[in-house]
């Protein structure tokens, strides 16, 4: 672990001497080869939610969650690379909000820049919080520092490390570290999957032991009531596969920034396409541990191991309390794999759902599996990999924040014509500020139990309508600035209204919806979320179109390079066919289809 941290900061120092202008700091001087950006692209996205969350969903829902990859990511990644990258990269915009200003107007950019800046701060805060909570829960630092300080110590230590390497090396340092983190994550989890599969008897044994809907990604998808996600086919394909995933991969500056750092337009187009290849196989590294964790105890273990494991489980379930309150230990091992029961942080009682059945703390599936199978030594590597995933997620948010803050907020509204050196200094200051705010956000998440749900809600309200604005902007030259602004706002309002009028089954009105009145009940919160996105997207699409037709269009001459039909397509014939985005993209798409077919 120490070795890794030394390397992380070393890279920051090594790259510091190459940072001479703000362009170097924020865009890595546009000089990074496609494959490096591609890995960073994926690694920035692999935050806390990915490794822990996907392991958790794997344990809870089964292989169905691979839809988040094979439907919810791959098509959008191929689309952004093939169709949208030329406009982001070719327009010389330095950030996604800046593209919005070039294409539309100042107010659309301001809306996007501010909401994006706030979201990055909170997501990096959540990463910090989740990491500190995990370190505390697993007792990684016990014995080194007093237990009550572990949480605070972890937050400040990890914030300091991320600050160190971004402050010194800017985006290139973040990208280099993300590549290291990517390989570390794979190196840490691949042997886990290998030994885990060996233990439970391979994929066939998992299939044998779990219900069919958990081991087949398409079984029962025709109707919401016959699959474990509680989502119907239309909700899945339109909500997740189209609106949400395209909204994230095609418009979120956090990932686009990595592609913008590429050394040429062709490379920039290749970045998301290359990133799609490891993304396609990530389910095997992050979802399978969840499935294995559910299977493990039903397999007859040697008595010695079983009791050792009971001790581990008991030790761990003692602390999943967000507050540092001490919870009594849960002593028994239940038949739910190695996943411990969720414990109420305040009363210390095991949490029961409305039917009186115990609720399991699925978030611990992956970390517990690490402890279960890895001997000392490998365990260090596994935990380093886990921490690396948190840091890459946090660093991604911080680099996106400092760029948007400096270029889109500071340079546009606070101080317009300063020297480049001034903006470089501002960027470093924004890095410090961003990290401090993230720490603040992490503590905010700690002290309010519901804030996490509330944030998820806000993210979905802001993100859902975005893709319609970009889609119309890039492919319809008639779209106007007023229309984009009106569309974005009304899309968010539509999402809010839809959320207020519907509720997932079994939830109380409030943060989960239904706070106006309940018109419709969804079978799960996931279904509600997908449909909120669909509504918000459609409203934005309609409003933007109508307002566009009613307002004066911009002269076509101003839109060259920003809109598809007005941009000359230059095909570079010097690139051999196997390096062209179209062929690589088709290959990836074909592979994704095959995977869907294999696990149907």
């Amino acid at each position: 672990m120490l070795v890794y941290f030394a390397f992380v900061l070393g890279i920051g120092f090594a790259l510091k001497r190459y940072i001479r202008s703000s362009n170097d700091f924020f865009l890595a001087g546009r000089s990074i080869p496609a494959w490096v950006c591609g890995l960073a692209f994926i690694s920035a996205n692999v935050g806390a939610q990915e490794v822990l969350g996907m392991g958790a969903s794997g344990a809870k829902y089964g292989i169905v969650v691979s839809h988040f990859y094979w439907i919810g990511a791959i098509p959008a990644m191929l689309f952004v690379g093939y169709f949208m990258m030329p406009f982001y990269y070719g327009s010389k915009a330095r950030s996604v909000p800046e593209y919005l200003r070039m294409r539309y107007d100042e107010k659309t950019r301001a809306l996007n820049a501010f909401s994006f800046a706030i979201m990055t701060i909170f997501s990096s805060g959540i990463s910090l919080y989740a990491m500190a909570l995990l370190i505390q829960t697993l007792g990684l630092l016990d014995g080194l520092i007093p237990h009550a300080w572990v949480f605070h110590f972890s937050i400040f230590l990890s914030a300091a490390i991320v600050l160190g390497y971004i402050f010194l090396g800017g985006l290139s340092s973040a990208i280099y570290n993300e590549v290291l983190q990517f390989f570390l994550i794979v190196a840490g989890f691949l042997p886990l999957v290998w030994i885990g599969l060996r233990n439970v008897g391979g994929w066939a044994a998992i299939q044998h032991r779990l219900p069919a809907t958990m081991t087949h990604s398409w079984r029962g998808m025709e109707h919401a009531s016959t699959n474990s996600l509680g989502v119907g086919l239309i909700g899945l394909v339109m909500g997740l596969g189209f609106v949400l995933s395209f909204g994230y991969w095609c418009t979120d500056f956090l990932v686009i920034q990595r592609a913008m750092a590429a050394d040429s337009q062709e490379s920039a187009r290749l970045v998301p396409v290359i990133a799609a290849i490891p993304k396609m196989f990530f389910p095997f590294v992050v979802i399978l541990p969840g499935l294995i964790a559910v299977c493990v105890t039903s397999h007859s273990l040697a008595p010695a191991t079983a009791s050792a494991q009971a001790a581990i489980v008991a030790g761990v379930s003692a602390a999943p309390a967000p507050s540092i309150a001490e919870a009594p230990q849960v002593k028994e091992v239940h038949p739910h794999g190695i996943i411990p029961q969720k414990v109420d942080p305040i009363t210390g009682e095991p949490v029961l759902d409305s039917d009186g059945a115990p609720v399991y703390n699925y978030d611990l599936a992956t970390p517990l599996l690490l402890i279960h199978f890895f001997p000392a030594g490998m365990l260090g590597l596994g935990i380093t990999a886990l921490l690396a995933s948190f840091m890459s997620g946090m660093a991604g948010n911080v680099t996106a924040f400092n760029t948007v803050w400096t270029y889109d907020i500071y340079q546009s509204y606070i101080r317009k014509n300063a020297s480049d050196l001034h903006y470089l200094r501002m960027g470093r200051a924004a890095t410090v500020g961003g990290i401090l705010l993230s720490i603040g956000a992490a503590y905010a998440v700690t002290s309010f139990n519901n804030i996490y749900d509330a944030l998820q809600l806000i993210f979905s309200l802001v993100n859902a309508p975005l893709f319609a604005t970009f889609l119309l902007g890039m492919f319809w030259k008639r779209t106007t600035g007023h229309a984009a602004f009106a569309g974005l706002l009304s899309g968010s309002i539509a999402a809010l209204l839809h959320h207020g009028l519907t509720i997932p089954q079994g939830a109380l009105p409030g943060l989960h919806g239904g706070w106006i009145t309940t018109l419709h009940i969804y079978p799960s919160d996931m279904a509600q979320n997908f449909w909120t996105a669909i509504f918000s997207f459609s409203v934005n699409l309609v409003v933007t179109t109508v307002v566009s037709l009613a307002t004066k269009p911009r002269p076509e001459g101003e839109l060259v390079g920003l809109v598809y039909s007005l941009t000359p397509r230059n095909i570079d014939n010097s690139i051999p066919w196997y390096k062209r985005p179209i062929w690589i993209a088709s290959g990836v798409a074909a592979m994704a289809l095959v995977l869907n077919f294999l696990f149907r």
Binding site: V3, Y4, F7, G10, I11, A14, L15, R17, Y18, A28, G29, S31, I32, V36, S172, Y176, V179, L180, F183, L184, A187, P191, I195, R198, N199, A302, A304, T305, A308, H372, F373, F374, P375, A376, G377, M378, L381, T384
Partner: protein, 64 residues
């Protein structure tokens, strides 16, 4: 950019791999590996990581 990312990547893997493999060598046949079903994961995975590290560092070395 002046630094090829494969070099630090290779060195990192080499260092971690070497640590793991050495630890694995010294703890061969110990009770430690009951957890991982008798497989000396440290030694095996450490060696694999070392090999990959050497490969990456060699590919990323500065052209002279």
């Amino acid at each position: 950019m002046g630094l090829d990312v494969r070099l630090p990547l290779g060195l990192l893997f080499l260092a971690i791999g070497a640590l793991l493999a050495l630890y694995g060598l010294f703890t061969m046949g110990s009770d430690l590996y009951a957890k991982s079903m008798g497989v000396n994961l440290n030694l095996i995975w450490g060696s694999i990581m070392m090999t990959l590290g050497v490969l990456a560092a060699w590919l990323g070395r500065k052209p002279k």
